[in-house]
Symmetry: C2
């Protein structure tokens, strides 16, 4: 993970362009132009367009986890930890819609498939999983597979974020709070 100025600039340009125009609407020539870099330079940092997209996604994922960790209390009550994660997710994506658009496109494209499978095999003790493991042990939530719990917890949030970004709803902090709480209702045993 080297991080020259130009490397980051290229990733940033990729995220912006892909978010707006999709993978196929984002030629390397445009990425180069927006990053203020020559086309050839991209290939100094990334093997191919696919590799660039993969790296851009990894970059976003790191940023997202970092932003969730801000103000997160590992020792607090389970429901409060859940609410924090939910709020952080929505707030962050609403503040940076491009990140959301890129990530969602990635997840629903052939790129994302392999990536998601890898993550499932081996990720045990990350921040989020452990909230649900604790909740399960305390008998607070339903006895369902972890992935189903994930779906109930975050599925609705992704949708309202998308609706907000596309201007179909206007989220405010009250509505966000109520929605995250409703997600918790879905989990409660």
């Amino acid at each position: 993970m080297e991080s020259t100025d130009k490397r980051i600039a290229v990733i940033q340009a990729t995220i912006e362009l892909v978010a707006e125009y999709g993978f196929h609407g984002s030629p390397m020539s445009q990425v180069a132009k927006r990053a203020g870099v020559a086309a050839g330079t991209i290939y100094h940092y990334f093997e191919s367009k696919d590799a660039l997209i993969e790296s851009s996604y990894a970059h976003l994922e790191e940023e997202l986890i970092a932003s969730i960790k801000q103000g997160y209390c590992e020792e607090g009550p389970v429901q409060e930890r859940f609410m924090h994660i939910g709020r952080a997710l929505v707030d962050n994506f609403i503040a940076f819609p491009m990140k959301f658009c890129f990530i969602e496109q990635f997840h629903n494209s052939p790129y994302g498939v392999a990536s998601r499978r890898e993550k499932m095999l081996g990720k045990k003790n990350d921040l989020i999983s452990s909230v649900f493991e604790d909740a399960r042990q305390q008998g607070l939530i339903k006895e369902l597979p972890l992935l189903v719990i994930f779906a109930l917890a975050f599925g609705p949030l992704l949708i309202i974020i998308r609706d907000h970004i596309f201007g179909l709803v206007q989220l405010d902090s009250f509505l966000i709070e109520e929605t995250v709480r409703a997600c918790w209702d879905a989990l409660k045993s």
Copy 2:
């Protein structure tokens, strides 16, 4: 909406290819080959690739609504109607994963934006909205904007369908039932 054999064949080929390779990985030449048709023929039925993709989506949406209507009782209790819709959605997408992959890619691409906005303006009395309107009037569900209700109701289902299709969970009818019920828990006031 004419429906020649070839027109349908082209749409079918488009859905299959896009589901597997994405929009940018589905050249018209391949669509033609898979549909058993000459490249030029596609342009007899569709103005452009964009128009073809738009029509393919519309086709899928009609099919989906038709399949939900099967066995649907307009007069039954609200919760039962909701459970029926949820089950139908999951069953249908699991039976035809290509449909799901196409639709999700569409929704998260620049194509889908306009389409979604149009639908929001003017759709009042469709099958699904009226379930939630009835539920609201009976005081059964939370007082939240319709789009948030949609998100809570169907967001989790979309995620577990994706996980199932990618082989990350194995859904059976028990798990589907429990998940749809949990979605209802999120809605309950």
